[in-house]
Symmetry: C2
Subunit: 197 residues, 2 copies
């Protein structure tokens, strides 16, 4: 059907999104075509807007529409605390909790010998520069509790030893978590880090 | 973060796609922003192209970029067979199999007393008109094997009785299907429609 090429091209592009495959991309595109005015046109406009304005913050690596993101630009958030995360998604997750009032530093991944990701690929030098430039007193490592995440945390801790206060997120039972469903590692970590009441 | 409004707007729109929720929409948008040049911009362009060209075929209800879809426009497919489907997705599924050489008629749903969907909402009158106009000799009901689909099939069969040859897709064991995993209804249908070898 030569006539369907635009639609086929859209399906093919949609199928490349994480979480969508060829089948769900077809469903999504049909849904979009049915809601041309209400959803497809606004979505095309929103994508165009993001495509032309989105950029990474030159300072922390957060994603926004300015060279310096609102968090880095906010004087009040320069309180000496720097939260180091792997990814922008982790930064957004921290921001949703609303509990952290300092600034972030997005590494853009984890150290990985296999994928030959070294400190330079990870914006670790920029982090060291920021520690002096922004008078950081405490670095909070909010890296994922995976092998790669913890390897990276150890490396950063080695680099920054004696220069700033270092901490990492507590490990333990998640709120609402049931022991029966938790893995051994989490239970071990929660027991080792038990708190006196 | 006032600065992130365009990105937030995009996430909100993406979350309205079938198969995506707020979390997977965030993941998809971050992925898009990382691949601005390779994916986000082409996707924005493809959506814009579909938004401005996609329309329903005035004859059969298929989705394409012309007022009359390529299947309806193709003389060779006017072979007297008309395949009635609920939805454009079903038409595409039939076309992928490549086995049907006639034309389609997309109902746009099923009859439903609860949702007050009557024959007029379903393009059934247009189907009756087409049967005369296109000298249809056989109507093949390829409706879903659900209660609503079968109700609609019965209604159409009543309407067309004695006017054309009527058939519906065979029911039975799907290719590659294992009896152990099939529901009782399918096994019953397959046994009742058993074929002599």
């Amino acid at each position: 059907m030569p006539d369907r090429t635009e639609i086929d091209a859209l399906i093919e592009l949609m199928a490349r999104l994480p979480g969508l495959g060829p089948r769900s991309a077809r469903r999504a595109v049909l849904h979009l075509i049915r809601k041309r005015a209400l959803l497809l046109q606004p979505l095309a406009d929103a994508m165009q807007a993001v495509a032309s304005t989105a950029r990474e913050c030159l300072n922390c690596g957060n994603v926004g529409t300015a060279d310096i993101c609102p968090i880095c630009a906010d004087e009040k958030r320069g309180n000496g605390q720097l939260c180091v995360v792997e990814d922008v998604a982790d930064l957004w997750a921290m921001e949703r909790s609303g509990v952290f009032k300092g600034r972030y530093h997005v590494l853009g991944g984890t150290l990985s010998a296999l994928d030959s990701v070294g400190p330079e690929e990870l914006r670790i030098p920029q982090m060291v520069t920021r520690i002096d430039a922004e008078s950081v007193t405490e670095v909070i490592l909010a890296l994922n509790a995976t092998v790669d995440g913890q390897t990276t945390a150890h490396y950063i801790a080695d680099q920054l030893e004696h220069r700033v206060a270092l901490s990492s997120l507590a490990q333990g039972v998640p709120i609402g978590g049931e022991l029966d469903y938790l893995d051994d590692g989490t239970i071990t970590a929660a027991l080792n880090a038990r708190k006196r009441l």
